[in-house]
C-alpha cells in the first residue's frame, strides 16, 4: 500500500514538472518574440539581416561553424560508422558475388577444360592409331619391297654367276688351245727339225695339190 501510494505521488510529480516546464517554455518564447517584435521591428529585421550576413561570412570561412565541434565530431563518427557499415555491406555483397563468380568460373573452367582435354585426348588417340596404322603399313610395304628386292638381287646374282661362269668356260675353251700351243712351242719349238718335217709337209701338199692348182688357176 505504501509503495502504491509512493508511485502515484511520483507520477503526479512528474506530470506536474512537465506541465511546469511546458508553461515555462511558452513564457520564454513569448518574451523572446513578442516583446522584441513590438519594441523595434526594423532593428530586429536589421539584426536578422546582419546575422544572416555574418553567418554567411562565417560559413564561407568555416563551413562547419554552424555545428558545434562535438556535434561535428558526432556527425563525423556517425558518417564514419555509416560509411563503414555501407562498405562492410558492399564488401560482403562483393565477397558473395565474388565467391559465386569464382565458383561459377571454376565450374565453367572445369567443364571447358574437361571437354577440351577429352577432345584433345580423343584426337590424340586417333592420331596415335593413324600413326600406328601408317607405321604398320609402311613396315609391311618396306618388308615386301625389301623381300622383292632381295629376290631380284638373288636372281640377278644367279644370272650374273651363270653368265660369268659361261664366260670363264668359253674363255678357257677359247684359249686352251693357245695355252697348249704356247706350251708345245716353248717346249719343242726349237727341237723339231724341218728336215724331219719335210716328208709330212710334202704329203700334206700333195693331198692339197688339186685344190692349190685350182686356186692358182693352173
Amino acid at each position: 500500500m505504501i509503495n502504491k501510494g509512493a508511485g502515484v505521488e511520483t507520477r503526479f510529480l512528474i506530470i506536474g514538472a512537465v506541465i511546469f516546464g511546458f508553461l515555462l517554455l511558452i513564457i520564454i518564447l513569448f518574451l523572446a518574440f513578442g516583446v522584441g517584435g513590438k519594441k523595434g521591428t526594423n532593428k530586429a529585421t536589421r539584426s536578422k539581416k546582419e546575422l544572416a550576413e555574418s553567418y554567411e561570412k562565417i560559413i564561407q570561412n568555416d563551413m562547419y561553424h554552424v555545428f558545434g565541434k562535438e556535434f561535428q565530431e558526432e556527425l563525423r563518427n556517425k558518417a564514419r560508422l555509416d560509411f563503414q557499415r555501407v562498405i562492410n555491406e558492399n564488401a560482403m555483397f562483393l565477397q558473395q558475388d565474388l565467391r559465386l563468380t569464382t565458383s561459377g568460373l571454376n565450374d565453367y573452367m572445369k567443364n571447358e577444360i574437361s571437354s577440351k582435354l577429352e577432345e584433345e585426348f580423343s584426337a590424340y588417340k586417333q592420331t596415335i592409331k593413324d600413326v600406328e596404322k601408317m607405321a604398320a603399313d609402311s613396315i609391311t610395304a618396306t618388308v615386301t619391297a625389301s623381300q622383292k628386292l632381295q629376290d631380284e638381287l638373288n636372281q640377278r646374282i644367279l644370272d650374273e654367276t651363270e653368265t660369268r661362269k659361261a664366260q670363264i668356260i668359253d674363255s678357257f675353251q677359247e684359249h686352251m688351245s693357245d695355252v697348249a700351243q704356247y706350251y708345245i712351242t716353248q717346249a719343242l719349238g726349237e727341237e723339231i727339225d724341218l728336215k724331219d718335217q719335210l716328208p709330212y709337209i710334202l704329203r700334206q701338199l700333195e693331198s692339197q695339190q688339186e685344190a692349190i692348182r685350182k686356186d692358182m688357176w693352173l
Binding site: S177, K195, I201
Partner: protein, 168 residues
C-alpha cells in the same frame, strides 16, 4: 759383132731351186743389168770382139748353165733379162711360212715340188712364224692352207675341250 742366139723355147726358161722367190729374181736381174751395162761400156770404149766377162754369182751361173746360155753373149743376157722380168711380173707366187728359218736343202726340195707339181716357173717366198710350232702354212694369192702343227691343235680344240670336260 754379136751373133744371134739360137734359143729353141724362149718361154720355157728354167729356174734352179736356189732361186726361189721374187727377191732372188730381182737380185739376178740387177746382176744381169750390171753385166749388160758393163758390156755396153766396153763396146763404147774400145773395139773388141770378145767381151771381158765380169765375175758373176753362183746363182746366176746356175741359171745360165741350166738354160745353156752364155754371159759373154749380150743377146743371151738380154734374153735372160726379158724372161726374168716377165717371170717376176707374171709367174705364180706362193708364200710358205715355217716355224723357224728353213735350211737350204729343205727350201730346195720344197721349191722343186712346187715347180714339178704346180708350175715350172712358180716363185716361192718364205717366212718365219714360231707360233705355228711345226709344219708350214702354204699361202696362195687367194687361199691359206694351214699345214702346221699349231693349226692342227686349233682344229682339234673340240677334242681337247671334250677331254678336259671328261675330267671330274
Amino acid at each position: 759383132m754379136s751373133k744371134a742366139v739360137k734359143i729353141e723355147k724362149p718361154e720355157s726358161i728354167k729356174i734352179p731351186p736356189l732361186i726361189s722367190g721374187q727377191n732372188d729374181i730381182s737380185r739376178i736381174l740387177l746382176e744381169l743389168e750390171a753385166v749388160q751395162a758393163d758390156f755396153e761400156s766396153q763396146k763404147v770404149k774400145q773395139q773388141i770382139t770378145e767381151l771381158i766377162t765380169p765375175p758373176i754369182s753362183r746363182r746366176l751361173n746356175e741359171v745360165l748353165d741350166l738354160n745353156r746360155l752364155k754371159i759373154t753373149s749380150p743377146g743371151h743376157v738380154s734374153y735372160l733379162i726379158a724372161n726374168l722380168r716377165m717371170i717376176k711380173q707374171k709367174a705364180p707366187v706362193v708364200h710358205v711360212t715355217f716355224a723357224k728359218e728353213p735350211e737350204a736343202v729343205v727350201l730346195a726340195k720344197l721349191v722343186e715340188w712346187v715347180r714339178d707339181n704346180l708350175h715350172p716357173q712358180a716363185l716361192v717366198n718364205f717366212g718365219v712364224q714360231p707360233g705355228i710350232i711345226g709344219g708350214c702354212v702354204f699361202r696362195t694369192p687367194d687361199h691359206i692352207y694351214d699345214l702346221s702343227f699349231g693349226g692342227k691343235l686349233r682344229s682339234s680344240k673340240s677334242l681337247l675341250v671334250q677331254k678336259m670336260g671328261a675330267i671330274k
